[in-house]
């Protein structure tokens, strides 16, 4: 589950952890509290964060079909939930296996990649209203991972 911790546990199978490993362990544990706080903020403000994004999308894309915008919003609601858990676990693979691999085919069929990218950038600026700059650094890599994964996979197939 926690790859960084798992690796330390394996190393400790036959030996004491060395100073450097202990430092890694400390970092992992000490940032966990902050990551949980970010998680709670995202969880408690989910509707508020995304409602504004939904309104912005409708303004920016007046010609786009309503159900396509809705699917895109659903995808990103889901992505943000999985990113939040991946952030707590500090595990990009969790996000890839539990969501992205499976979601890519669905996004491709809907052809919503450009709306999806727009949504990602609206989300990033919206998060700035709820999280401090340092807090954003915890969740940002996972949201970027999702955005890059979905756009690069569809580029491969096209």
């Amino acid at each position: 589950m926690y790859p960084a911790l798992q690796e330390l546990i394996y190393q400790a199978e036959c030996d004491y952890l060395q100073t450097e490993d202990i430092e890694n362990l400390k970092t992992e544990v000490s940032t966990l509290k902050q990551r949980i706080n970010v998680y709670k903020t995202l969880r408690d403000n989910e509707v508020e964060i995304f409602q504004k994004i939904a309104n912005q999308l409708l303004d920016k894309l007046p010609k786009e079909k309503l159900n396509e915008i809705q699917s895109c919003l659903l995808q990103w609601l889901s992505i943000t939930r999985y990113c939040s858990m991946a952030m707590i676990l500090n595990n990009p693979e969790f996000l890839e296996r539990r969501l992205l691999e499976w979601l890519t085919d669905i996004v491709e069929v809907h052809q919503t990649q450009s709306t999806s990218q727009m949504l990602h950038s609206l989300l990033m600026s919206r998060l700035g209203e709820f999280l401090s700059e340092s807090d954003i650094t915890y969740i940002e890599p996972f949201l970027s991972q999702a955005n890059n994964y979905l756009s690069s996979q569809s580029a491969v197939t096209n």
């Binding site: 409602q51 309104n55 889901s78 539990r98 691999e101 499976w102 979601l103 890519t104 669905i106």
Partner: protein, 218 residues
Amino acid sequence: MISIANLIEEKSLKGNYFAPSAYLQGDYEIGLLETRGEGRLIALPEVFLQGVFAGLNQEVGQATGVVLYNCGRWWGRNFFRRFLEETTAYYEVPLPQMEMAQFLSCFKQCWKTHGWGVLSFDFEYYGQGFISVSTVNSPFAQAAPKNQQFACQLEAGILSSFLSELTGEDLACIQTTCESLGASENNFVIGLKERIEVIKSFVEEGHEHAHIMKLLSQ
């Protein structure tokens, strides 16, 4: 106006049911491997599959492919039932309301998590009544004797009955390339039996898969 609160209320936000770390479970104490839906799983060692090919070859010779295909057909029907039960229960959507893209994505993930390789669909010829499927890293092609004959009849059987159950048509499946014969992937064509029967002669004439698809659609 889109209401996010309503969207969250009405729609599922669930991800990949078949993610290996979530799907493969078991009660190791009593020697059970299970799916997260409590269906029993067993691991088939490569030597067992090699034994199946060797044993069948000795007992039924040329008919090996037909036997494996029919086993696959039977397996596929039950596999479809279990797949459907698990996915519709998890996503809380009956099959007719499940989006096809989601259904197929689940199927591909399921295939992969069971260790049967990576599966892809090609619907370019769907309008003409054919579905093309490819798999890579097939455990059956890997265990089969090399450079002898097509080795993925089990998979062909599974695919034919799975898609027959899904579409309500009696579909058959014929393999056109095989990793055991040195190809980079295994290709299959699925369609009505009388319409794809001709593929066997195209394969015997040595046509490539892409060319066979063109010939079929003419």
